[in-house]
């Protein structure tokens, strides 16, 4: 499963978002993801992907506008983690 697919599955299951709307071009604001909801989503993403999101919600939302952006952002965190511990990469 790609990061985008895993992220979409998580948003559909945990946050009751319509899977049909969870396409790469979907804008987070159109998905009614505000900064408060982003705090929860970041927490859930940290658990699901085993990453640490250091950006504050407002910074994160400034950098990540679409679901595709978000998946790329998580991919970046996964790559950074793999670079830190090559043999532990999953």
């Amino acid at each position: 499963m790609s990061t985008l697919e895993a992220l979409a599955a998580l948003l559909a299951k945990e946050f009751a978002l319509d899977p049909a709307r969870l396409v790469p071009s979907a804008r987070l604001e159109d998905l009614e993801i505000d900064s408060l909801r982003m705090i929860e989503i970041a927490f859930a993403v940290e658990d699901a992907f085993g990453v640490k999101i250091a950006d504050e919600p407002a910074e994160l939302m400034a950098r990540v506008k679409t679901l595709g952006d978000f998946a790329a952002y998580v991919d970046g965190l996964l790559a950074a983690r793999a670079a830190r511990s090559p043999e532990g990469a999953t």
Binding site: E14, F15, A16, L36, I39, F43, E46
Partner: protein, 408 residues
């Protein structure tokens, strides 16, 4: 001063998740008190309580549910029923003149308990991000206001076990003084979690389990009473300017006619006859009623050694000889003690008793206590025509409240 009508009632209780089911169970002397299966129950000295058969997951989508402690879930569902029951309440209403006054003793106690478990027991630093918003005491009122777009005054009262009686009394004043045309008022409590139950256990005020029937563990006014049993739920009423209610042709359950509030100012837990009697006397005066006008008192009746004798004496001091002529019952024997929601739930019991002409009993009262010598309706529900009723709610901290409702 405007008169105040009760035009809507909503209940989520250990005895059923609507007002009708709740009262039917009371009239049938059915107890909701049972063994609890909560996490950590094996470490409770007496793992009993009165849980509501309520699953938030069936009422809210997962995204909404993440933002709601159980106490807010209960409150939202009771409020929805009350507003629906007050048919057409908000059609054309000036929502800036409709507010929400709620009582809760412990607010989002489940979220607080979950958070402490994460930190201290699981030794994790990953606390749920919304713990503050889940556990804050004013969350239930805030959610109700948001859900229904009510922009009038929204307040949360926390006076322990009289919280929701205070909330209803204060809300009625807002209407009486012309500051609101309707108020959503009541209380919610969800205390059946390990930390809260242990704290109550430590105070040595909880009932021991009846060896033959867990459901009979709370025995208000009985010689062998051993304490209170915690319960959970929410009860909400719609209070409305009576003239407005009549003008729109609303069905009126009752008139909220009196509210009395008095403080013991003596001891943090020990109740006083004087403080309780003062609250009842003030409620009668507010309703412009004589003691003989009251046909039924829903007692605070916790089933503790401290309360029941004092309350009996306070009723006698307030009502004189009439104390012996009117039924007094404690429905906590069946639904347990809902703490901050108790006053609202028991006012609802009293109003429905009047509406249906049925006095609910005090269950499990078999061994008489000479100190408690009133008519507690121990033999089961009875039919009675009631023109006015009183509900008592007293509290640790000494905030005593009494509410009087009259037939419309």
């Amino acid at each position: 001063m405007k008169r105040v009508a009760v035009t809507g009632i909503g209940v989520v209780s250990p005895l059923g998740n609507d007002a009708g089911a709740f009262f039917d169970a009371l009239a049938a002397s059915r107890s909701a008190i049972a063994r609890l299966g909560i996490a950590g129950h094996e470490r409770l000295a007496c793992p009993i309580g009165a849980p509501a058969a309520f699953d938030g997951a069936s009422r809210f989508d997962p995204a909404k549910l993440r933002m709601l402690d159980r106490v807010s879930q209960l409150a939202l569902c009771a409020a929805a029923e009350a507003i629906s029951d007050a048919q057409g309440l908000l059609e054309g209403a000036d929502r800036a003149r409709v507010g929400v006054f709620l009582g809760t003793g412990m607010g989002g106690a489940q979220a607080a308990d979950d958070g402490y478990r994460t930190l201290y027991a699981e030794r994790s630093d990953r606390l749920k991000p919304l713990t503050v918003l889940l556990s804050m005491a004013n969350a239930p009122a805030a959610w109700i206001a948001m859900e229904h777009g009510l922009t009038g005054a929204s307040l949360t009262y926390s006076t322990a076990c009289s919280s929701s009686a205070v909330a209803i009394g204060e809300a009625a004043r807002r209407i009486a003084h012309g500051e609101a045309e309707a108020m959503i008022a009541g209380g919610a409590e969800a205390p059946l979690n390990f930390g809260t139950l242990k704290a109550w256990e430590a105070l040595r005020t909880l009932a021991s389990e009846d060896p033959e029937d867990a459901g009979a563990s709370c025995k208000p006014f009985a010689k062998n009473r051993s304490g209170l049993v915690l319960g959970e739920g929410a009860a909400i009423v719609v209070l409305e300017d009576r003239d407005r209610a009549i003008a729109r042709g609303a069905r009126i359950h009752a008139e909220l006619a009196g509210y009395g509030l008095a403080t013991d100012a003596g001891h943090i837990t020990r109740p006083s006859v004087e403080g309780q009697a003062n609250a009842m006397r003030l409620a009668l005066a507010d309703a412009r009623l004589a003691p003989g006008d009251i046909g039924y008192v829903n007692a605070h009746g916790t089933g503790t050694a401290a309360n029941d004798g004092v309350e009996t004496a306070a009723i006698k001091r307030t009502f004189g000889e009439h104390a012996y002529a009117m039924p007094v019952s404690s429905t906590k024997s069946m639904h347990g003690h809902l703490l901050g929601a108790a006053g609202a739930l028991e006012l609802v019991a009293a109003i429905l008793a009047m509406e249906r002409g049925v006095v609910p009993p005090t269950a499990h009262l078999k061994l008489r206590d000479p100190e408690c010598d009133l008519d507690y309706v121990a033999e089961g529900a009875r039919r009675a025509g009631l023109g006015a009723v009183m509900s008592n709610s007293f509290a640790f901290g000494g905030t005593n409240a009494a509410l009087v409702a009259c037939a419309p």
